[in-house]
């Protein structure tokens, strides 16, 4: 009986973890590149920022590709994000999030069909 109870507890706990994980990943999927750019990039690269203002249309598509593929990690590995518990930017932004941010930047670069600021 005791053993059965323990098994049931483990199953319930497991299901809860699975449910929470899938909820979190569903939430992640809903967050688009624009929102992520505003949340994670604009915080340090807004208007008049000493770090330089960056919106998607600050650079051309080649420059964004080059930045994300070759320079992002080097230039941001020591940067901490005060808005996200002073963690390293490179730890806060997951590879999945980075992919979305890159796509948003490239799709709305200065030489794209729809150049954009991030609002």
């Amino acid at each position: 009986m005791r053993l059965t109870g323990k098994i049931a507890t483990v199953i319930v706990a497991g299901l809860a973890v699975i449910a929470m994980t899938s909820m979190a990943s569903a939430k992640d999927k809903k967050v688009d590149g624009r929102t992520l750019f505003r949340e994670h990039c604009k915080v340090c690269h807004g208007p008049d920022s000493p770090n330089g203002e960056y919106t998607p249309m600050t650079l051309i598509q080649d420059q964004w590709e080059d930045f994300f593929d070759n320079n992002y990690v080097n230039t941001h590995k020591d940067v901490v994000d005060a808005k996200h518990g002073n963690k390293k930017v490179t730890d806060v932004i997951t590879p999945e999030m980075l992919k979305k941010i890159k796509k948003f930047a490239v799709d709305h670069a200065a030489d794209s069909e729809h150049p954009m600021t991030c609002g």
Partner: protein
């Protein structure tokens, strides 16, 4: 041998590591290092700039050989008043902001091929440097409005602070592509497909059902394949554009280069081409993606929460059936500034009405978008008036917007005006469907016909009349 291999491997690595932009070369890569505005282009292309200065795309007017009564006058949007955004001069350039500080209007020069200065009659270095060559010749070139140091505004590349980016974009020089043309022409009238109805952003990448000529996976034709030019003059102004800078070069589907006079396999269909132009059957609907503006009543302004500005009352429609009218290539365009308006029998001001009839052997039946508007007219002289649209969008004060624009444009203070309806037929020549999607026989010759036979000068379907006669 080993050293060679190491050297080759090192080269390959360097190539991979190099920025993507550095690996690409463009048509004008070797001609200049840094783009410093139009003067960079003028170093080699002064002759071309001079020809462009005189073109309709810069002057916004040209000899109007197709307009009845135009004589030798040069007409165009710069000296006429149309029933969409009226006239560009009062709202040429600037930043009109709403109460939240959001820009709601940047001026009509947004789609002018200059950098912000109004085109002049006389050529000068200032005018030549005002030409924005890249807007039609550099893919990836985008510009924005900026305040000038000495006051006023100008259009500048959005990359003006990014030398590497601007140098890359400014070297991507080519003849104008479909995308470049559509950037302005699909947005005319204030928004996507607002004005023309058959020119949409979707045509940059559409399928053959949408537009059999421009389809990316089909003919993939560029605008300039039909609208061929010479010295920056462009052929084919359509039915409601006054200026025609290449009057001897008409764009017709039945040219020998294209479809000829007997393009169909069935004789009965080829018999139609004598009096029915291709578009009447091959454009069964237009505005296939974005709804187009069918009615614009400037007299009924209201505040739009969605747009964050005051605006006119409008009716937009999608998948619209064209109206058919006779046209012999001439158009009655009556919105010439400073001349009394002329009205049709319904009392509507004829902004652009095709000339032609069934009794005119030079006329054929063409497809048109029939557009209606309500416009301000000067009470005593009956001149059609402009509107300072930017001011109206911000304040909602139409009376002031008309009076201010009239003073700027005509020099008339405190203009007393009334409102009058307009009629405007716009020829449809794009969004041509493939043969399988064209209008069939019963589309016209049946009880539920799409055709208003009376408007074409018939009592009813002439084919039915013939059949009844023969029985």
């Amino acid at each position: 041998m080993t050293l060679k291999r190491i050297a080759l491997a090192a080269c390959a690595l360097a190539l991979v590591a190099a920025p993507a932009s550095a690996r690409k070369t463009y048509s004008h890569q070797k001609y200049f290092e840094h783009y410093e505005g139009t003067k960079t282009c003028l170093k080699c292309h002064k002759k071309q700039a001079r020809s462009f200065f005189h073109s309709q795309h810069y002057q916004w007017k040209a000899t109007a050989s197709n307009v009845v009564g135009a004589k030798d006058r040069k007409l165009g949007k710069i000296n006429m008043i149309n029933d969409f955004c009226t006239n560009p001069l009062p709202t040429w350039i600037g930043e009109w902001k709403n109460k939240d500080g959001k820009i709601v209007e940047e001026g009509c020069s947004k789609c002018h091929t200059g950098r912000g200065i109004v085109p002049a009659e006389t050529i000068s270095d200032e005018q030549l440097e005002n030409i924005d060559c890249l807007i039609c010749h550099a893919s990836g070139y985008r510009r924005n409005i900026y305040e000038k140091e000495g006051g006023g505004y100008e259009w500048k590349p959005i990359l003006w602070k990014n030398t590497v980016g601007l140098d890359s974009v400014s070297k991507r020089i080519s003849l104008p592509t479909r995308t470049m043309c559509l950037r302005c022409h699909a947005g005319s009238g204030g928004g996507p497909n607002f004005k023309r109805g058959d020119l949409e952003y979707k045509q940059t990448e559409c399928d053959a059902d949408f537009d059999v000529h421009m389809a990316k996976d089909g003919n993939d034709m560029q605008c300039i394949d039909c609208h061929q030019g010479e010295d920056h003059k462009i052929a084919g102004p359509g039915a409601d554009i006054a200026g025609n800078e290449m009057p001897d070069k008409n764009i017709l589907c039945n040219n020998d280069d294209c479809h000829g006079n007997e393009p169909h396999e069935q004789k009965i269909l080829n018999m139609h081409t004598r009096r029915v132009f291709c578009t009447a059957c091959h454009i069964p609907v237009f505005a296939k993606d974005n709804p187009t503006n069918m009615v614009r009543d400037w007299s009924k302004g209201h505040y739009s929460e969605k747009k964050g500005k005051y605006t006119y009352t409008a009716k937009f429609e999608k998948d619209v059936t064209p109206v058919l009218r006779w046209w012999n290539g001439k158009t009655t365009i009556m919105q010439v500034a400073g001349e009394p308006v002329k009205k049709d029998e319904k009392g509507e001001i004829m902004v652009a009405v095709p000339v032609g009839s069934k009794d005119d052997p030079n006329s054929k039946i063409f497809a048109f978008k029939e557009y209606h508007a309500v416009m301000p007219v000067l009470k005593d002289r009956q001149w059609i008036l402009p509107i300072l649209t930017g001011d109206f969008y911000v304040t909602g004060d139409m009376d002031a917007a008309v009076k201010k624009a009239t003073e700027k444009f005509y020099g008339i203070k405190d203009a007393q005006f009334e409102w009058a309806p307009t009629i405007h037929y716009m020829g449809l020549f794009h969004e041509v469907s493939p043969a399988s999607k064209a209008v069939g026989c019963l589309g016209c010759h049946s009880s539920g016909s799409r055709i208003d036979w009376k408007a074409l000068g018939y009592e009813g379907d002439p084919m039915m009349a013939l059949l009844q006669k023969s029985h």
